[in-house]
Amino acid sequence: MSRLGEYFSGRSLESVLKKARQKLATGDFEAALRAVAGGLVRFPEAAALRDLNLSIMRAQSHAGMQDLRQRVTTHRDPVAFEQLISMYLETNMREEAMRMARDFATTCPESAAPHVILGEQSLQSWFRDLQARDGHRAHGHLMRATELDPRAIKPLLLLAEFYFCAGALKALSVLGRTLEQIDPDHPEVLPALEMIADHGDPSASENLDGSLAQIELEDCLANEPTSWPAGTARRTGNQLTEERTEVVAKQLVRDGVADEVVVLQRSGTPLTHARAKQTERATRGRRRPVELVTESDEDGLVDVVRDVAHTVSVQARELDLGAFRHCAIEGPFGRVVVGRVAGGVAGALRTSRGGESNRLWERIAVKLEGVSDGSAS
């Protein structure tokens, strides 16, 4: 089916987003959620769909959250704390969830629950960005949770996954013995114990600080979380290929969305670099010609995209602003947008005036996320 056909048949990512937004605008939350759910089956990695899903859920949850906030503020109710934090996390209000969890830990110092929440969130940040600081935070909170509730399974399983991915095989082995003593027949514990039997090493010499520092430096885990029994939902690898990104980059330039498009792997290695041909003009009725840049001495935009992504990512982490998503730079040259998408980094230069940078980034991200699902044409 042609892309035009896909759009009008409602099967393209753009048409799914449009339909869901229309339903949200009319207040039909259930229909909007159904539209997004259908789209996520086809485009599971599309951040625009996930963001829209969260916006719909937030709008729908507004009244319930207010009630729980009242119970937390007035009664300092531990159950209300947990439910409110859970709602915040479901709707990706992560800043609020973390703040509430810290308040929960202060209000109920003998409760392991806030430390499990804080530990799990820090662990997710660690898997996403591989920053040692997140690893230390996750470890600290999960250890505190096990001290407060020694028989709780969840923090122990999260610690096991952490030790496995960090390559801390001695600590993994020790933790395995703890799990065996608590509940060896638990359905979630059994597969973990099998992995620990295969990979744990009680005689290993290790230093967790050193391991976390090396992971951050090399941007690579000791063991991939997808190997862990419950880790299949975590992905740190690249989801873009040269062939697919080339198609999309050329299309974006040909259609005049951008004058130059760059796509890099997470490591900074270029995948694709396309730009409008300088020496030819597009005639009326014909799309403008595009060329692929292969000479390294013409990698100006590649270096900009790489430098911006790295600089801003590091600075954002230092300020506890969470993971870098995207950035827009405007000046006499036009605008440059840079962002993380589908496990890689993309950037584009648009020299003509008009339009919004956020809209430019969204168009690029949607196209690339659509490609990572194999729907480019």
Partner: protein
């Protein structure tokens, strides 16, 4: 100039605002309790130096504004005469470099710095 930053922060519920020189030196600041002025200032300096330098090397020249979107916040850096205005916002505020409040504050800062220079 602190008054301009205070008014801006109150108007748009920002987490903080700074004025930095092109070399990254902090000129004035107004931030919420708990926000790290030093790190915020360092981020501004880092963007000016690294991003600005990268654009120059690519032959694109200087920038007039930068907007950074992260998981838990947004940072806006705009020209304000001979200086730059840096504003730290929450994640879901639909405010950016083009907002009237930020542009107005930048203009006022530009006038104030021009006046001070003369």
């Amino acid at each position: 100039m602190k008054a301009i930053l205070q008014e801006l922060n109150e108007t748009i519920a920002a987490r903080g605002a700074l004025i930095v020189a092109p070399d990254g030196m902090l000129i004035a600041s107004d931030v919420r309790i708990g926000e790290d002025v030093e790190r915020l200032s360092a981020m501004g300096a880092g963007i000016l130096a690294q991003v600005g330098g990268s654009l120059e090397r690519a032959g694109l020249g200087t920038f007039a504004q930068v907007e950074v979107v992260t998981e838990e916040g947004k940072l806006v850096l705009v020209e304000a005469g001979p200086t730059y205005l840096l504003v730290l916002l929450g994640a879901r505020l639909e405010i950016g470099p083009g907002s009237i409040e930020i542009r107005s504050a930048a203009k006022r800062i530009a006038r104030a710095t021009d006046f001070a220079a003369n």
